[in-house]
Symmetry: C2
Subunit: 311 residues, 2 copies
Amino acid sequence: MSYTTHHTIKPGVIAPNLTPFEDDLSIARDLYLDNVRRLLEDGCVALAPFGTTGEALSVSTAERLEMLEHLTSNGIDPKRLIPGTGLSNLPETADLTRRVVDMGCAGAMILPPFYYKGVSDDGLHAYYARLIERVARDDLAIYLYHIPQVSGVPLSIELVRRLKKDFPEHIVGIKDSSGDWENTKALFGISGLTVYPGSELPLFEALDLGGAGCITATANVNTSAIAKVVELHQNGETEAARRAFEKVRTLRLTVQEYAPIPAQKRLLALQSGDARWANVRPPLEPLSEARGRELADRLRSEVGLDILSMD
Amino acid sequence: MSYTTHHTIKPGVIAPNLTPFEDDLSIARDLYLDNVRRLLEDGCVALAPFGTTGEALSVSTAERLEMLEHLTSNGIDPKRLIPGTGLSNLPETADLTRRVVDMGCAGAMILPPFYYKGVSDDGLHAYYARLIERVARDDLAIYLYHIPQVSGVPLSIELVRRLKKDFPEHIVGIKDSSGDWENTKALFGISGLTVYPGSELPLFEALDLGGAGCITATANVNTSAIAKVVELHQNGETEAARRAFEKVRTLRLTVQEYAPIPAQKRLLALQSGDARWANVRPPLEPLSEARGRELADRLRSEVGLDILSMD
């Protein structure tokens, strides 16, 4: 079946890369590119620009396209990018998705339309069906994005199954950020679907089921350690992988105690000495420097990760 | 205080006018204009195009601007329009809002950024503050839009009070669609703020508190009856107003038993004989003709409103 040709991303960790802002809240182009390069060098097999972690819904469509062009014109391979393109309406989502396909990106990560709540599976099915029709590209590869605690609009297992069945060449995968392992496990039962947990916490269980890794926010500060777990597991060194995973898990749980987007941005500001990294767009609020130092101290003592002395 | 100059809309009913679609789901321009003219003729004091009822978040920014230009170039007075301009991000919301101000509209109805949940009042305050700064127009008149059951992002009484205090010339009103009368009543306590309940159900209580009317979805099928209630109340004919209100209330409660947006569109399709009226954009689903006829029958028997024989 031809849709397997989409699966060019090797198993590993994918970062929904953070979006840094200047003090006037325009995107900091230099930091954006630097961070992408760093994440790929640190071992990300791909990136998912403009996900929830990348403050995607606080960024305009024009800004997303401008940054993607900035990346590709600076040598970043679009085949390692799965940008978020899901907006709340069909015409703008279709236009943005088509642009991303035409740039040669590996796929597009697409939220359900997230304004109207309590909508039916039939309504959501119609949305994705119309979207695929409007994008009108044979090489459109959609990764569905299930993050009901933020979007307010869940993608049921039954709906995902129907979409995969009806559009097998276009629905290639899903990121499940629900944090509900039973849901993720059920998704693994859908034939031909690539399933990424939206966190490293169930990484081991996912790999044991033949999963391809995870797409996780905390990859922005912990790529190499997460990548190592996947590598050891792939090599059959299960015990070493499990030992490495313990620290990865602890870091995740500690960062989760803070607001993860502002917290990771503050860590990068402290690490780089570039205060712009701490900026977030409202309605999010920056994490204070004091709280950031507290978090950095905890990571050093709890998992031996010395964020402030890394480069 | 100069901000009172914004209050050019007289007391009455404001319809968040429905957005009709062609079968290919583009906006049906002729029906859009016809419906606006009909609502104004039937007694709406103003319209709120592109609210939740107008499927605003299923429509692109370009489409909103195109339709507003279509209206004003066909003689609709922009001073009777309060279009919805709230998107999930700052740059696009600012651009759209500035365009609406420059068209001479009476105001802009602005949702909080509705993707990220659990955000702080400080974060939302910063969003509106940055928005006002970016729109950069002295005559910007903002109507806040509180509809937490859909947006997922409430505007607390305390936040609304702070915004009104910090930007008295720009924050002129609020539409409270929470359905929580205690919340609406508390908003009436904020000095200088025009408060519109987002339904006719608490219309009487709102008028008794000196309110200016309501902004209600069901005005799309029941404008003249709701307008009559306000008129009678304004004239001091309280008992007649109360009797008229009973039917208005019954109609609302009956329509609410159906999905209100598809239901009203189906009623207009049946009334006009134009099947395009039944179209909705996914993720919403159209109401079946059978269910629409059932609703029309109920309205005839329950409140004596013969939708199918109106013109």
